[in-house]
Symmetry: C2
Subunit: 110 residues, 2 copies
Amino acid sequence: MDLSSFYKCLSDPTRLRIVNLLLKGPLCVCQIQEILQEAQVKTSKHLGYMKSRELLIVKRKANWNFYEFAPSLHPIALSSLQAIETYAVDDAVLTVDLNRLQDSLTNDCC
Amino acid sequence: MDLSSFYKCLSDPTRLRIVNLLLKGPLCVCQIQEILQEAQVKTSKHLGYMKSRELLIVKRKANWNFYEFAPSLHPIALSSLQAIETYAVDDAVLTVDLNRLQDSLTNDCC
DNA sequence: TTGGTATATTCCTATTGACGTATATAGATA
DNA sequence: TATCTATATACGTCAATAGGAATATACCAA
C-alpha cells in the first residue's frame, strides 16, 4: 500500500471513527454499525474502501464479517495509527464511540 | 483544523512530497518547484490546498513566498508528521527529494 | 513607468468520492 | 428447499479533487 492511499483512508470522518474502533481489536460489521449509528450501506462502503486499499482485511466467522488491520502495515502507518489511539481521548466523537464499544463488547450478537 | 482535513492534505503523493521537504524547514515556492520538478501551477495549487486547510502558512520575503507548517498543529498531526520524517529514508522518491533539497540549499535564488 | 520575476487564480475537463435507494449474495437455519 | 440474517454491490446524483492552459497579480528593478 502506498502512503497516500493510507492517508486517503484516514481522510474521511466516518472512516476515522471506524479506524479508532478497530484499534481496540477486530470487530464485526454489525458492531461497527451499531456504534457509529450510521446506515448499513454507508458503513459497508467505507469498510470496503479501506479493504480495497489494503488497510483492512476481513475474516468471516459463521454469519459475520470481522474486520481488522492488515498485517505488516508500513511503519509510518503504524505510527500514525498509534497517534490516533493515543489522542482519541481528546476527541469527543471518538471517545463516545469507544464508550459505546465497551457496551457493545458485553453483548453477544456475534 | 479537523483531523480528516489534515489527512486529506497527506492523501496526495505530490503533497506528501511537499510535506516531506517542509519538515526540514521553510521553503520558498521556487525551491519546492525545482525539487519536485513539477509544473508551477501544480505546485502552487497543492500549496494553496494545504494553506486553506491550515496545515501550512506563508510568509512573504521580498519577491518570494516561504511556506512552513502552521504553529500549534494538533498533536496527532505532529506525531504523523514526525513519523513521515523518521521513515522518509525508506521511500525512494522522498529520499531523492531530500537530496535535491540539500543541493538547493547551497543555491541562493531566494 | 516599463518590464521582469514569482506566484496565484480562473476556466475547463476528467476522475474520484460520498451517500442514498434498491437489489444481490452468502451462509445459517427451519 | 425455503427463508432469514448479515453484508456487499449496482446504479444514480452531486460535490470535491487533480491537472493543464491561459491569465492575473504583486512586488522588484531599471
